[in-house]
Amino acid sequence: MASIRLSVPKTAMKGEIIELKALIQHPMESGYRRGSRGEQIPRNIITRFECLYDGEVVFSADFHPAIAADPFLTFYTRAVGSGTLAFRWTDQHGEMWSDSATLTVT
């Protein structure tokens, strides 16, 4: 189970630049660390993040092993119309977590 926290304004003016924040719980194990018995801890990371505004990708990011655990992103988009902002994380095995929020544009 992954916990997700989103920060999306409930309302915005048309054309306004809005700030979006997304935090997900994930170990982001780099694959370079060793356990107490010297065994290599296998890599386990999220590789892709996407934010979709009414189905259109407005922000995306590729993650690599140097990203810290529980990755936190802040980014911006322009409010063009009322709709859904969907946030999607995909890990190296193809497992996906998502959450969404509704934005009302006046």
Binding site: S3, R5, S7, Q25, A69, D70
Partner: protein, 258 residues
């Protein structure tokens, strides 16, 4: 026999020399500073922003668990209808029914076993950390205030003894770093006063949330002593002494620590 009576006299002298166990008398050098004040501005900002603080992932999860009904057991919320504000600031505390000293984790597990008919959660499991963080966070901003007299007094003395006893290959006591050398540098870090008011805390070194006992185990292995097991009674006694020493500091859980 003479040796025994000498030992008794010595013990009595020691008891007379040590301060009475009352709350608020154990501040290191009078000036009590939260671990927060030893952090860099960037790390402080991370703690101050309740959205950027990843500890709130566990608080959210704890809030859901608090409401959840498992195996037809009553939820935590069905008994604790008015919330638990201020409770975490008074822990560790004596459990009236058993007479044992319990920390917050122990109290949660005891509630599960006694009232919910559920198995105790494992130490450092995400669920136990989440419930602990959720309950501790309800006391955020309230001053730490534990009872160290009555039935808690022997636990307090045992915890204080642990704090002042040298241990490990480095032969160091907690007191030597966290009272006598707080504020100075140890390798890349500033030594804090060693208060537990932010725990469970998100430690950057761990890259996750962890309990005060996990932190204490790190200190013990840091001086190359053998850490005790999670839930060891001596560690709970030490937690009581640490809380007494931190009296008056605000609860910060889930804090960010290095």
């Amino acid at each position: 026999m003479i040796r025994l009576s000498l030992a008794l006299v010595f013990a009595a002298l020691l008891a007379a020399c040590s301060p009475a166990p009352t709350a608020g008398t154990d501040s290191p050098a009078g000036n009590v500073r939260s671990g927060y004040t030893f952090l860099t501005a960037e790390t402080q900002a991370m703690q101050d922003d309740s959205f950027a603080n990843p500890g709130f992932l566990w608080v959210d999860r704890g809030a859901a668990l608090f409401e959840a009904r498992l195996n037809h057991a009553p939820s935590c919320a069905s008994c604790h209808t008015t919330g638990l504000a201020g409770i975490a600031a008074t822990y560790p505390a004596i459990d009236e029914a058993s007479g044992d000293l319990l920390n917050l984790e122990g109290r949660i597990n005891q509630c599960r076993v006694r009232h919910q008919n559920l198995p105790a959660l494992d130490f450092e499991s995400d669920d136990l950390l989440a419930l602990t963080a959720f309950i501790a966070n309800q006391s955020a901003g309230m001053p730490v205030s534990v009872s160290t007299d009555g039935a808690a007094a022997p636990h307090y003395r045992n915890g204080r003894d642990y704090f002042f006893t040298r241990r490990g290959q480095f032969n160091l006591s907690c007191h030597q770093c966290h009272d006598k050398n707080a504020g100075k540098r140890l390798r890349g870090d500033t030594i804090s006063q060693g208060h537990g008011n932010g725990f469970p805390a998100y430690r950057l070194e761990w890259q996750t949330l962890g309990s005060l006992q996990r932190r204490i185990r790190d200190c013990d292995s840091g001086v190359r002593a053998e850490p005790k097991a999670f839930g060891d009674p001596t560690y709970i006694d030490l937690e009581l002494y640490l809380s007494s020493r931190a009296s008056g500091l605000d609860v910060e859980s889930p804090a960010i620590r290095r």
